[in-house]
Subunit: 333 residues, 2 copies
């Protein structure tokens, strides 16, 4: 029902069938796995961007295979999801032939949860990476103004007989909408994750204007460096727009301008390295060691993705909770 | 002089000419750029590992080109530097033909500063990544015991008419030898970067036994996830040993066992994506925007590598400072 309503809302807003289907698939991935910030609540956000013309509802993708292991997909400013799934699928096909495949997705728009695309690659049998740049919300290390986007890095790796290992992380400490959430909860933010309008660190969600890079006051140069790497791979390599020059999606003020960002998809075939059997055995040995590693004060140790897979099982059983605004928008209430 | 002495010390310890030359090149890279933890002070560490047989001084590299974009280099437990430079050089050759090149370096040993290899790739015109796993020194997020290595991620990207953009970061907040340094300085460590023998956070360098992942108490799952990605790419993909099973280099107790870790080299040719001219222009635009971005309280904003390039200029002029132990070992005093 949720899926159908999201699909219908995107169609109504002007998305063609492949765009609406891919965006819904990516949002449902996030909603199922408990990443509600990138789940079906984004439907209204995408619908608005489609209606304003910031996002092209009927994109004409153009793929150029530029060498035996590389390709560029021009997303024609469509919803990023269809382009990112297509880019990852192509990267996997290329990796199957060439050992590794890299696809740059140019001139795209917001693609939701990066993990959806890395996961698609891992489910096809490849070690997969997905990155995307975004409009600026995060300061540089020591910076007073927003510069990079939250620029996610997602990576996934197949695990024989089990769900993939799955890392999906913003290069800021927290996502922007956590500021909004903590405002409504009247709750103090964690230390060293946000700054006020002048770039000074603040834990007050009402003063917080920008995010700060992963690593906080002392080590934020690492988060900022990773964000830069994502910008280079996603935007600069593909000829799209660097974060600080990207017109924001759904701007609070002024005329909305066409969005233009890039994604990067990498797939690696273990078959062409240690071989499938060796890879499977070592991955098993690594994950067993990890899960058996003792936790502080008896805490359970989880591999990246473990928590999300548990949430998925629980939500498959009990259903996906939907926030009131989204429920109204999707006509579920 | 410094370079010759390091070279001589490695030769004396049993390294063949290619091994000694590559290790010295990598150490001099780090010493010139101010990364003294991975500079010539490592000479005695490598010499000891060569003498104990943990590292093979006369390795026989075997290269298998497994597909048009992939290769595996078996480093035969030689010093990691020669293998990592060779792996990156091959990745660049492959990328020139195929758009992207990935080389897994199997059965290698400690390779020093990851940035040395990424830089070599960028100087050849490619966006380059270098990662390596290592013996375990870093807890998992919430973990009570060491599990991952400090598992560096280095990335470099060419900049037309200027030194490359260069990121070289451990996936822990600090390197292990900073604990040792702070012990000798009797100085308190930064918060949330180390833990005691039970995994409890401590700032006392005398109690600190292990490192904790980048991101600290709240966001260490990101640093631990990145460390895991490095293990997967470097060790698992290449059929080498995962961090928690790697015998430590120069163990304080017991018989030294042969070291066995892996590296991963990736090179991407911008020519096969946006094209060289487009890449150069966008990279310029990005870096100009970054360097002009206002700093908090007037702080200067630097791109990754900027500080290191400055240090290099200064050290090229004034010489490289060498700590007393290393000066004695290299017979400089």
């Amino acid at each position: 029902m949720l899926e159908e309503r999201a699909l219908a809302a995107l169609r109504e807003a002007g998305a063609d069938e492949p765009s609406a289907t891919a965006a819904t698939r990516a949002m449902m991935h996030a909603s199922r796995m408990g990443v509600d910030s990138h789940g079906v609540r984004l439907t209204s956000f995408y619908a608005e961007a489609l209606r304003s013309g910031q996002v092209n509802g009927r994109p004409d993708f153009k793929v150029r295979r530029t060498a035996s292991a590389s390709a560029v997909l021009d997303a024609d400013r469509g919803l990023g999801h269809a382009a990112a799934y297509a880019g990852m699928e192509l990267a996997c096909q290329i990796a199957k032939e060439s050992g590794v495949g890299a696809v740059g997705v140019a001139h795209s728009t917001h693609y939701g949860a990066a993990g959806a695309y890395a996961l698609a690659g891992a489910e096809a049998g490849f070690i997969a990476l997905s990155t995307s740049n975004a409009d600026s919300l995060v300061t540089l290390h020591g910076g007073a103004k927003r510069f990079h986007g939250t620029n996610p890095i997602a990576a996934a790796a197949p695990v024989a007989g089990a769900r993939p290992w799955l890392l999906d992380m913003a290069t800021s400490s927290i996502p922007y909408n956590r500021i909004l959430l903590f405002r409504s909860l009247q709750r103090e933010l964690p230390a060293e994750v946000t700054a006020d309008i002048a770039g000074e660190p603040t834990r007050d969600p009402h003063l917080a204007e920008v995010l700060t890079p992963l690593g906080g006051q002392d080590f934020g140069f690492k988060g900022a460096g990773l964000a830069g790497l994502v910008t280079i791979l996603s935007a600069i390599l593909t000829g799209s727009t660097p974060d600080h020059l990207v017109p924001p999606m759904n701007p609070e003020e002024g005329e909305p301008k066409p969005h233009d960002i890039g994604h990067f998809c990498l797939a690696i075939d273990p078959e062409r390295f240690v071989g499938r059997a060796g890879y499977d055995a070592l991955m098993q040995q690594y994950l067993t060691g990890l899960r058996e590693s003792p936790g502080r004060s008896g805490a359970e140790i989880l591999a990246p993705g473990d928590r999300e897979w548990r949430t998925m099982e629980q939500r498959n059983r009990d259903g996906i909770p939907v926030d009131p605004d989204t429920a109204r928008f999707l006509k579920l209430v």
